[in-house]
Amino acid sequence: MSKIDFNKIYSSFWFLQIGGWLIYTVMIYITFLTVTNNFLSLFYIKTFRAVVGFLLTLILWRIYRRMVNRLSLSSTVLIVLGLSMLFGIFWALIEEGYVWAISKEYNFYANLPKIPKVALDYAMTVTAWSAVYFGIKYWQKWQTEQQNALESAALANKAQLEVLRYQLNPHFLFNALNSIRASVDEDSNRAKEMITQLSEFLRYSLLGESEKKIPLREELEAVRNYLAIEKIRFEEKLEIEFDVEKSAEDFKVPCFLLNPLVENAIKHGLQTSAKPLKIKISARVSGRELFLEVCNSGRLENLHNSNGTKIGLKNVRQRLEKLFGDGGKFELKQDGDFVKARVEILRQKN
């Protein structure tokens, strides 16, 4: 069974038009009850007035519908005032004619001076109706715009996170495949092992969800696979060291947080470090905070001439900010003989 959308009904034109004019009718009955005792003629005249108002505003509706969102505010206001005046006069004249038709003691000349005042009165009513109409229209438009803005921002965030994660480095991938091809004859067991490691790494990077947080253990596993392949490529030119506290392994971290840091460490380390390049990865917990470090034995100075790295690091920073707000920190600095990339994450309560 489909659910009835009350919000939609309440904001529909017909609901408001009929409801509004009913309230109007009741209100004029009440106001005039106190000043007359001819109830029947009051009923006829005031009902007629409300019906005419109802019908006239329907005509206005047809006109206004074409104007909404097409004209500037000032021309809308001018047209609304002009039409209100016109419809007010029209309304007053029709009513005058009706009264003349049904009433025997109607004195046209006595009533004539009153007509401009009545017309102005009715014009005000039409203006008020118009103001409500446009007010609702603009409010609805504003709401949809707000909604769209929120939706597009959410989409953009998602897309950006996806992109960041899919920055699976093609250099790495094809070089890994090349190393595997080379290993097939030289050492087929190593080739098999590399295929497994590469598969695990690809699975992790392609199937993981960027918004999802996972235990550090899984992220480290992916990093280990990645480094195992790089170690086979670079052989004795690369030395790797892990130092992970047991308690840190269950800490939840964003998927693919560490890998860009490790990738950078190798890329820059190879350019700036003495051989062999040393990579150290450490994780420890203190209180509610997790400290992750990726160090390489290179130098930080030459960093500014590499755009790709800057983007990579900016992404790490942005993701931390998005996912943890003030609870995530990132810094990159030279610490003695090592370039140290350091991430701090505050455990979130939930």
Binding site: H171, F174, N175, N178, I180, R233, F234, Q271
Partner: protein
Amino acid sequence: MKYKTIIVDDERLARREMRRLLAEFDEIAIVGEAENLSETLSLIEKEKPHIVFLDIQLSNENGFDLLEKTEQNFKLIFVTAFDAYAIRAFEVNALDYLLKPVNPERLAKAIERIGEDAEKKAEFRPFEFDDRIFLELGNRSVFLKVCEISHINSSGDYSEVFTRQGKKFLIEKSLREWEERLPEKHFLRIHRQTIINLEEIEEIETWFNRSFQVRLKNFRQTLAVSRRYAVKLKSKFT
């Protein structure tokens, strides 16, 4: 005749793979391996190779720099895992470009091309603004980023290529051939004698007889815009 060949790669496994792939070709004789540019240079001096297989991303060096350091002439075949920008050359057989892992059939084609007639015309493929192009200058060769070209002057059958750094290369290509290959969006012929890089325009001066002169960022001399091309130049800026 066998081609004396050198393999340059910083990874032992990659060199081994290349060696194994090349073992299939009788015309290739591998005379040495190198893992960085200085080793490569001394090998080139010693062996005077016909072919160099060169990895672009060496651990702390760039394969492109090799040509600036040697006067020797050899056929260069790049081998790389992935490169964001292509390398293009005016001559089909001037160089080749292989992607790792190397496809043996593609390698066979590259080796086949080495023997081809050097006079063969270039296949028509326009350069991109970010491309590197490979230019043969008589007995040596250079790499040039297309975006680094400031302007090109015609000089008979030759053309003079001026770079943004103020270098000048004399190349055996007509201005017409340049015009066909350079990206239209960034380069414009302004005269029978001249093609300019639009990004390099500092200002356009209007002279009293309603002709134009273009001043480029890194050059003091102005360049004349002939009436024929003035309309096109104007349309680029309106």
